[in-house]
Amino acid sequence: MTPELMEEGAKRLEAYALKRASAATASGGREAAYGRPTRWGEADFSHGVALYLDDITVSFDGFKALNALTLTVNVGELRCIIGPNGAGKTTMMDCITGKTRPDSGKAFFGSTIDLLRLTEPEIAQAGIGRKFQKPTVYEELSVFENLELALAADRRVRASLFSRLTGTQLDRIGEVLQTIHLLPEAQRTAGLLSHGQKQWLEIGMLLMQDPKLLLLDEPVAGMTDEETERTAELFLSLEGKHSLVVVEHDMKFVDQLTEGRKKVTVLHEGSVLAEGLLADVQNNDKVVEVYLGR
């Protein structure tokens, strides 16, 4: 065997691995479906699909905010969604979380939970967490209390009237405080945090909920470069354990998240314009036209 041959073989292996990686979906801890009955209210991920939107149409006074949108997000996948203003990104999140009811179409979480039949709190309890475009935290409460309220626990009135934090729960709050770099600010009133810190706090509240699917609407808006980088690291560490849908305008951030191998979806006028690797999408004629208005 000559060195040239070996080198060629190595290259071929590498190319094959890359091809595999771009096509593979993370398993997200899903298990075989057989012999495991799903419990009521628990999402069934055994078919590898976390979110399934089919032919969703939403119109506001004749204007179609979403036009026959079809989108699938796999379990454990990190999917970035880009698109010009008014493309329907936020409306899509509203449909998934129950804030807006679509005129037609289907929306499923896992393969059993029909999102169009549930209310906002029920969808949140089923395991979908959402971060708003504008950071929404409880301004008058402390950072600690913000996280405490988000902690996955019984949400009923009587339960919260007599709830006491256990040691495990305190540890969990401490852990998240560390992750979002707000440990020294734990007792500060949330309203006094900087914009970037509020974004982090809201992300921390999502983590406390321990959702299976995270919807993040422009999570790094108003963050410094360093904070953006740390956010990207955090999201990458969540990939695989959770499914993530990230809506973002910051291409550098999207590039960091996709690591050159993950799919990006481009929305335009309420439907999917293109889907594929960021580099491919950026060279797509239709996408260039939409973005640059040619």
Binding site: E140, L149, S160
Partner: protein, 384 residues
């Protein structure tokens, strides 16, 4: 920027568990002693004319204001903590008052002007028998239950429809005003069977004991005061619990609460109903002390006044509304004697001043580092 690694126990340390600190409990104990021992002694034992004697007028006035303070506390739970401004709380207060009034009317017996078994206004209307809704009015226990149940049920049904339809902010305030106004018109009618625009008055006895005696006056005062203290402690337990923090979260960002998995309906409805029941109890304590209840208690202006007491004292603090009720009503009783024609101007000016300069009310001013408390602290620090 590296965040320093602090020991977690230091950062997460919370002031939870106990309802109040040692200072707080001492204050509660002092309040109970003043209400249950000092006032009765100064009024009943210390002879009239003595410098320390507390006049009957002062006892009745304070007892009345205590009932108002309970209303302000109830308003604070729903407005200050949950962010729902109700301008119809006067209705629940009046319903509680009418519930007590019905019992007191039956206690008059045959001592009325017409010497009849029926209350005077029914004789006047030529009614031969008690209407159906007076069936239980002879039984104190039954009527006491109705005082709680009727306003509670009304608040529950009204709140269920309003909160389920996600009526918020100023729209909620408007429909609560409409509710109390509609009830006032209903109670003004003689056919409703609640004495029309004269309401109920001329009470003689409660539980068979004459009502217009010094002892009864002080007893009613003591009961009202203790109820206020009990409600205060209950409110403190509520706002210190996780439930109370969810209420504040609903006030600050309701959509976030929903997307976190809480159903705001259950939380809003429970605190709204509790708040209404507290007002009803206040109304029931108010009527035997004041000796009259009529539909003017249901006028929108009466409900707005409750909101003013709360705002003046300080929303989202529990002591604030109590202070506010005492301050505004104390000022009212002084003003209406000293400068009767200027009282409404003063009330208006007070409300404007509080809105503009004291968004957190009197208590907010006291607690501000640069406020009166801060000045006082600095002065004492210099001295030592």
């Amino acid at each position: 920027m590296k965040t320093p690694d602090l020991p977690m126990s230091v950062v997460l340390e919370q002031k939870r568990g106990l309802l109040l600190g040692p200072k707080g409990w001492s204050a509660v104990l002092a309040a109970v002693l003043v209400i249950a021992v000092l006032v009765p002694v100064l009024n009943l034992v210390v002879p009239d004319g003595h410098a320390l004697h507390l006049s009957d007028y002062a006892v009745t006035l304070t007892g009345k204001i205590i009932c108002y303070a309970i209303c302000a506390l109830a308003m604070d739970l729903i407005w200050g903590y949950t962010g729902i401004l109700s301008l119809g709380h006067g209705l629940f207060f009046a319903l509680g008052g009418y519930g007590m009034g019905m019992y007191l009317m039956r206690q008059i017996g045959t001592d009325g002007n017409y010497k009849s078994e029926l209350p005077d206004f029914m004789v006047f209307l030529n009614w031969q028998a008690l209407p159906w809704h007076w069936a239980l009015s002879d039984l104190f226990i039954a009527q006491a239950l109705l005082i709680v149940l009727v306003p509670g049920a009304l608040a529950f049904v009204f709140g269920w429809f309003a909160f389920r339809s996600r009526i918020k902010g100023v729209y909620f305030s408007i429909i609560t005003t409409a509710m109390t106004f509609a009830a006032m018109l209903l109670f003004f009618r003689n056919e409703t069977g609640f004495g029309g625009n004269n309401g109920f008055t001329d009470f003689k006895r409660i539980l068979g004991v004459p009502i217009a005696t010094g002892q009864m006056r002080v007893l009613l005062f003591v009961i009202s005061g203790l109820v206020l203290v009990a409600f205060y402690l209950m409110a403190r337990a509520i706002v210190n619990s996780k439930y109370g923090r969810v209420l504040q979260a609903i006030r600050d960002a309701e959509t976030r609460v929903m997307f976190t998995g809480y159903s705001p309906l259950a939380y809003k409805l429970s605190i709204w109903t509790l708040s209404a029941v507290m007002c009803a109890v206040a109304g029931a304590l108010y009527v035997p002390q004041v000796g009259i209840i009529n539909p003017s208690e249901m006028s929108p202006a009466a409900s707005i006044e409750i909101a003013i007491w709360t705002a003046v004292g300080g929303r989202a603090t529990l002591i604030g509304p109590i202070v506010g009720a005492f301050f505004v009503n104390g000022a009212k009783s002084w003003f209406t004697v000293a400068f009767p024609e200027f009282w409404l101007y003063f009330l208006g000016a007070l409300f404007i001043a509080v809105t503009l300069f004291l968004p957190n009310g009197i208590i907010g001013l006291l607690r501000r580092p640069g406020g009166i408390a801060g000045l006082f602290r600095r002065a004492t620090e210099k001295r030592t």
